[in-house]
């Protein structure tokens, strides 16, 4: 386990290093000039020159990169070109929103998917199974933004039960939770469609095995066998997909954040790229990379917990 952790950590740092170079290089190659983006097209060349100097844009790219790395290692991610505040502050104020959405989305996704997937497997080749399959096919086919619009039209515009968007922050917990309901549902319905199918097929594989028949034969109830014997043994592929989905979810909230105008990281990265706000983009991409690597790492750990036999192999 120690070696495994060590390898993972080294991998994480190498990934981050590569990501930082790619982001820095691509932001420099991209056509566009932060000074013109900020001062507008009518600005004079000398005003732009002063701003470029203030922002440190007139330094050589390599020098800029090393200065950035040096500061980042000390926890200073620079000051956003366009917002004029430290990047850490910009990101910090948006994390609660995106994480809340990602976690609530994930929780609903897994609950729905496990329930539907296992039920479908237990009603294999019966109407219940077909129903779940049809629904999940629909879920995969429907784009998240369109589903979001429908939800907003029904629950916010027509029925007025929930707000159409926005996020007041956790200072007002009740309205914060209300604001999260529709985005969570929109996110989870689509994600759980995929996961439900994986759960079903994985459970079907296990249901056929001898120990399940034995369990049933020794008199355990059908649902006990399903949830206590089949599910744990079917978990490996499910956890793999959950891990992948969580990574996709964090970056994928960009669509949902746009439709529900939520002040999250997805919208921030989108704006920062169009503003050519190098430091903000850099920090955000690094953070997403960390999340993806961490999610994979947690999935690996989960494998070992679910199936101790894998422990030997990982060493």
């Amino acid at each position: 386990m120690g070696y495994f952790l060590f390898r993972r950590t080294v991998g994480l740092f190498l990934t981050l290093f590569a990501v930082s170079i790619v982001v820095f290089a691509s932001m420099n190659v991209l056509p566009g000039d932060p000074a013109i983006t900020i001062l507008g097209i009518e600005s004079t060349e000398d005003a732009r020159a002063v701003l470029r100097e203030q922002l440190g844009l007139d330094e050589p790219v390599l020098g800029q990169y090393f200065a950035w790395i040096f500061n980042a290692l000390q926890g200073d991610f620079g000051v956003s070109y366009s917002y004029g505040v430290p990047v850490s502050e910009l990101i910090g104020e948006r994390i609660p929103m995106t994480l809340s959405l990602a976690f609530s989305g994930m929780a609903l996704t897994t609950t729905l998917a496990l329930f539907l997937g296992i039920s479908a497997a237990s009603y294999h080749k019966k109407p219940g199974d077909w129903g779940v399959m049809l629904l999940s096919q629909l879920g995969i086919a429907i784009p998240a933004f369109w589903l979001s619009m429908l939800l907003v039209l029904l629950f916010a515009v027509k029925l007025r039960w929930l707000p159409p968007g926005g996020f007041p922050g956790w200072d007002e917990p009740l309205s914060a939770m209300r604001s999260l309901i529709l985005p969570t549902v929109a996110l989870a319905l689509v994600q759980s469609a995929v996961l439900a199918r994986v759960t079903r097929s994985s459970a079907l594989e296990v249901i056929r095995l001898d120990f399940v028949r034995t369990a049933r034969a020794s008199g355990f109830s059908k649902s006990r066998v399903l949830w206590r014997h089949v599910l744990p043994n079917a978990l490996i592929p499910i956890v793999t997909i959950v891990g992948l989905q969580f990574a996709a979810l964090v970056s994928g909230t960009i669509v949902i954040e746009n439709v529900f105008y939520l002040p999250g990281l997805g919208r921030l990265i989108f704006q920062s790229i169009s503003n050519r706000d190098l430091f903000t983009v850099q920090a955000l991409v690094m953070m997403f990379a960390i999340i993806v690597v961490l999610a994979n790492f947690l999935v690996d750990i989960a494998y070992v917990l679910i199936d101790p036999r894998l422990k030997g192999r990982s060493n």
Binding site: L30, P31, G32, D33, I36, T37, I38, L39, G40, I41, E42, S43, T44, D46, A47, V50, L51, Q54, S82, Y83, G84, V85, L90, E93, R94, M97, M149, V152, L153, A156, V157, R160, P163, P164, G165, G166, F167, P168, G169, N258, V259, F260, Y261, L262, P263, G264, R267, L268, Q271, S274, N275, R276
Partner: protein, 495 residues
């Protein structure tokens, strides 16, 4: 200025200030905006929504303008202009305080101008100060500004957000905590979500301000904006981005839809510097090939006024020149053949704004009918700025020019992205800029419009509309706007 993600004209909207509305009416308002500011100082960033929210609401300038563009006194209560039109003496309002409690006086005006004109200035409109030679304090309530040459647009330009009078004590913090002298104070900003302004109780005209609290919500997606209006989360959306969604509001008795005009001329810009558009026959052929009605119907759902030159239809000196090259595909085809470009492939690079993308597709079809293969390339805004605007790497593009008095773009020389330069027009513009007699200036502006239309410098398409959706009973928003800001002091709810 162009209509861009950064420079999108912020259209907060109108106002026939219904004075005398009774105070028992609702006193707060929630306004939807498509663009969120990045920083909050209009003298340091060109983002249109900064002007939209702060100019003449939190910050004030020496002058201000009305919905029709007439200049009115503001921090300067009155002014005298010398006979040679080179010296302006402004008498400043007395007893004015900044929101942090410090006093406003002539030193602040001098400080603001020196800061905007100075070597270290990062003012987005530094150009408008370029004719000033000196700013001197005569006494605490009088300031004298000297120009090196006559500037007919000086007083109008001094109303801009870029010419806001900032406080020397508070200027450093303006990017995140703006302190001005205006009728509203900055209260809070939750980035990505909302911003709140409150009534300035110490304002010199506080009794006539009917709103106590103004909340801005930032919603970039048109469909989301529409849902937010329909569910009554918002009271006003002065710069509504999607003309196709207006009918549902028009059919709903809860809302009031107002379609006005902006200063934004939408043009099909042709690169005059290089073949084939250095040939007037080709430019004329393009003008004949264009069918404006079809473009306005398809791209703007009928909500725009066609233009035949580069001047807004609501302007005093407007001449209707849409008939200069009436739509005639056969004529266009013949001209393209005569110029030897028939069957040629040209690029049409489109910035990421709906008006441009939609118009572009229609124009592509119209050019195809006339025998020209226009290759549409959708580009991102940063790309547009660097490739088209800076490097002139394009054949055709579509863009809205949203600044007032911007006919001077055609006098900016070959290096400007139009690639156009003619001494005749450059001289004409120089006379327009320095002519202080309005009647004579209007006559010359008409002459300028005719010149640009006849020489088919660009394809002139339509005036960008200002689409506003408001809750019924909300008064004071401008229908049309000559500037980027909207004074909220005039806005009120009917009782």
């Amino acid at each position: 200025m162009f209509l861009g993600t950064k420079t999108t004209t912020f259209m907060l909207g109108v106002a026939i200030g219904l004075s005398g509305t009774i105070a028992t009416a609702k006193s707060n308002i929630v306004i939807g905006l498509q663009q969120e500011p990045t920083t909050l100082d209009p003298t340091a960033d060109a983002t249109a929504s900064i002007d939209g929210i702060f100019t003449h609401n939190v910050f004030e300038s020496l002058t201000t303008v009305t919905e029709t563009g007439a200049v009115l006194p503001n921090l300067a209560e009155s002014w005298k202009i010398s006979d040679d039109n080179l010296t302006y003496t402004f008498s400043l309002a007395k007893g004015v305080k900044y929101h942090d409690g410090t006093d406003f006086n002539a030193d602040d005006v001098k400080f603001s101008f020196d800061r905007a004109m100075g070597e270290d200035s990062v003012n987005p409109s530094k150009k408008i100060f370029s004719k000033i030679t000196s700013v001197s304090v005569v006494d605490p309530h009088t300031i004298e500004i000297k120009l090196k040459s006559v500037d007919a647009f000086f007083l109008f330009n001094m109303a801009k957000g870029d010419a806001s009078i900032v406080g020397s004590e508070s200027v450093e913090g303006n990017k995140t905590n703006p302190i001005g002298t205006g009728p509203f104070t900055f209260t809070s900003w939750k980035r990505g979500d909302r911003m709140i302004l409150s009534k300035n109780m110490d304002y010199r005209d506080a009794a006539n301000i009917s709103l106590d609290k103004v909340e801005f919500r930032f919603i970039s997606d048109p469909a989301a904006a529409s849902a937010a209006i329909l569910s009554e989360e918002l009271d006003a959306f002065p710069g509504f981005p999607a003309p196709e969604l207006l009918p549902q509001f028009e059919a709903d008795p809860r809302f009031d839809v107002r379609v006005g005009s902006t200063e934004g001329e939408v043009i099909l810009a042709m690169n005059n510097a290089k073949p084939p558009f250095d040939d007037i026959r080709v430019r004329r052929a393009v003008s004949y090939a264009i069918n404006r009605d079809e473009i306005i119907d398809g791209a703007m759902y009928g909500r725009a006024t066609p233009i035949g030159s580069f001047y807004p239809p609501h302007g005093k000196a407007y001449v209707d020149l849409t008939g200069t090259y009436p739509h005639d595909t056969a004529k266009a085809k013949a001209l393209f053949e005569e110029a030897g470009v028939a069957g040629m492939t040209m690029t049409l690079r489109l910035p990421p704004f709906p008006y441009a993308k939609r118009s572009g597709e229609i124009i592509q079809a119209q050019l195809a009918a006339a025998g020209i293969d226009a290759k549409v390339e959708n580009v991102e805004w940063g790309f547009w700025i660097s490739e088209i605007y800076k490097k002139q790497a394009y054949d055709m593009t579509i863009i809205a020019h949203t600044s007032p008095n911007d006919m001077g773009n055609f006098a900016r020389g070959k290096k400007y992205f139009y690639g156009f330069e003619e001494q005749e027009f450059t001289d004409l513009w120089a006379s327009i800029r320095t002519e202080t007699d309005p009647a004579k200036r209007d006559e010359m502006l008409k002459q300028g419009q005719r010149y640009l239309a006849e020489n088919a410098i660009h394809g002139f398409l339509f005036q960008l509309p200002r689409l506003g959706v408001y809750r019924n009973g909300l008064n004071g928003f401008w229908t049309s706007s000559p500037v980027l800001y909207q004074p909220l002091a005039d806005v009120s709810w009917a009782k």
